[in-house]
């Protein structure tokens, strides 16, 4: 940590507000570009490999009425079906449920004829939706954190454990090149603001299954992800599921929300140093709380939730002694 970052703090936006302008993190934009190109290439290849368009029958169950859609195999997504139902159903649907058992990302093409249900936040038992929401928040927290720090601070995303709303906060474990950093209130506020800005951009969250080699190529500059990928691929038929929001790409089992605008109120509550045996720089646990925009809560009650989110999350602490992947994520879910 050089003298400059000690004076102004490690975050980009804070230093800017303090009157000191630092150029955008060049290496991270280049990295984003490189990853984005590979992602776009693979995406294009997969859409072109569909070939002759075949039709499938999707039986929709739920409001406003049960109906049958004739959709395109490997092209149409649950989101396309939701568009036929109307704005309300398109915007509120968080995740699709195929054949009553498989949770399916809203932007992932449907491979076969199936029955379709669209889940939202106000259903009788929304535990699956809550988990999807919490996982997406972790993923977005990674996106926010990887773009918020200055160029001279090394940052490697490690992983986030399987989402648990009961733990009181969503988390992302990140390796940061800072010794004993204790974030100040303004720094946490800046991170929260960056999060809100990301959500206001209304970016769609894309999903793509890629080969192990392709995943290794995308994450070749991240030592932790490179270690995790072989394990993940072994538990998922040699495939790795990637999610992309804006320029940021991450590994997760999914599913995620269809769009960042589902996140309403959000706060980055605390950043705590973890006691692990991971080599290199210390690992910090970034914690936050959020609510979907469809759920309104008064500020006092939300304050209580924020207060709870400051306590160190009980999620599994990553380390060399256990198996490498957490939510990244197949082992954790297989045991559930």
């Amino acid at each position: 940590m050089n003298s400059l970052s000690r004076t102004w703090g490690p975050l980009k936006s804070l230093s800017r507000s303090a009157g000191y302008i630092i150029k955008r993190n060049v290496s991270s934009t280049e990295e984003y570009q490189r990853q984005g190109e590979i992602f776009a290439y693979e995406q294009k290849k997969q859409t072109e490999s569909v070939g002759r368009i075949e039709k499938i029958e999707v039986r929709y169950e739920g409001q406003p009425e049960n109906c049958i859609f004739t959709m395109n195999k490997n092209i149409s997504t649950p989101y396309d079906c939701a568009k036929h139902l109307g704005d309300k159903f398109r915007d509120r649907s968080a995740v699709a449920l195929l054949d009553g058992k498989t949770l399916w990302h809203m932007h992932k093409p449907l491979p076969n004829s199936c029955t379709l249900e669209l889940l939202h936040y106000h259903i009788q038992n929304p535990s699956a939706v809550n988990k999807v929401f919490w996982r997406t928040c972790s993923f977005l927290l990674g996106a926010v954190a990887s773009d918020a720090f200055k160029t001279n601070i090394g940052l490697h995303l490690h992983s986030f454990p399987s989402p648990s709303v009961k733990s009181g906060s969503f988390i992302y474990d990140i390796q940061l090149d800072l010794e004993n950093w204790q974030p100040t209130k303004p720094e946490l506020k800046v991170l929260s603001l960056e999060f809100i800005k990301l959500c206001q951009k209304e970016l769609p969250i894309e999903c793509l299954d890629v080969d192990k080699d392709m995943a290794l190529e995308i994450f070749k500059n991240n030592p932790h992800k490179t270690e995790q990928i072989p394990d993940i691929a072994a538990h998922n038929g040699e495939k790795v599921t990637l999610f992309k929001v804006g320029p940021h790409i991450d590994i997760s089992r999914g599913p995620m929300l269809p769009n960042t605008n589902h996140v309403g109120r959000v706060t980055v509550t605390n950043i705590l140093k973890l006691d692990t045996d991971i080599k290199g720089a210390p690992v910090y646990r970034f914690q936050g709380v959020a609510l979907p925009k469809f759920i309104t809560l008064n500020h006092f009650a939300y304050g209580l939730i924020e207060e709870r989110g400051r306590i160190l999350n009980s999620g599994r602490i990553p380390g060399d002694y256990d198996s490498l992947n957490e939510d990244n994520s197949f082992l954790a879910h297989a045991s559930q």
Partner: protein, 200 residues
């Protein structure tokens, strides 16, 4: 010369009153505007929930709030309040309802006694904005979705966890206090035991 403060002459309403009044379309002059308002206020007191165009609802809400507020403050033995009630409620049997039902109902409220919600308009159809104006505590089913009773909703889970964390902290504090007071407590406990034995 000091001007009397308005807030001391009339009770403050719990809604935000607009700075200017709406004019509406009144071929018969300003009195007609008040007649329209009377009609709406009467309907509100009578039916407790009405659906109408937004501007009219927003305007009539003020008069209804003032009427109920005065009824609570002065009661039915106050001459000018009774005159006001007589003027604003076109159907006279509602005067009884105002003083005997509504005033006791809102006596201990610390929020406004009416609620104004925007309502969807028919499409295709006239483009006027619609609203629903209701008296709180009415007997009809709620217009807003119930977000409190379902414990599985995400905010309820989070609030439950916050509650648990708070309780654990409080119990820990109490336990710490007891431990701190332990040396003093020990003797009386022993004494009580020996007393019991003596009693037996």
């Amino acid at each position: 010369m000091n001007q009397a403060e308005v807030s001391k002459l009339v009770s403050q309403l719990r809604i935000k009153a607009p700075t200017r009044l709406r004019k509406f379309r009144n071929p018969k002059g300003p009195e007609e505007r008040l007649n329209k308002m009377r009609k709406t206020v009467t309907a509100l007191v009578k039916h407790e929930r009405i659906e109408l165009n937004f501007p009219r609802a927003h305007e009539a809400r003020m008069y209804a709030e003032r009427l109920i507020s005065d009824a609570i403050r002065y009661g039915d033995c106050h001459k000018s309040t009774m005159e006001m009630a007589d003027y604003w409620l076109v159907e006279k049997q509602l005067v009884h309802k105002l003083f005997k039902v509504l005033a006791p109902r809102y006596e201990h409220y610390n929020i406004a006694c009416t609620r104004l919600l925007t309502a969807p308009r028919p499409y295709p159809g006239p483009e006027d904005k619609k609203a629903i104006l209701e008296l709180r505590g009415n007997p009809y089913p709620s217009l807003l979705p119930d977000t409190t009773s379902n414990k599985n909703l995400i905010h309820n889970i989070l609030l439950d966890e916050a509650k648990k964390a708070y309780r654990t902290r409080k119990y820990a504090e109490i336990a710490a206090k007891i431990v701190a007071a332990e040396p003093n407590l020990e003797k009386p406990v022993v004494a009580a035991n020996s007393d019991q034995k003596a009693g037996e």
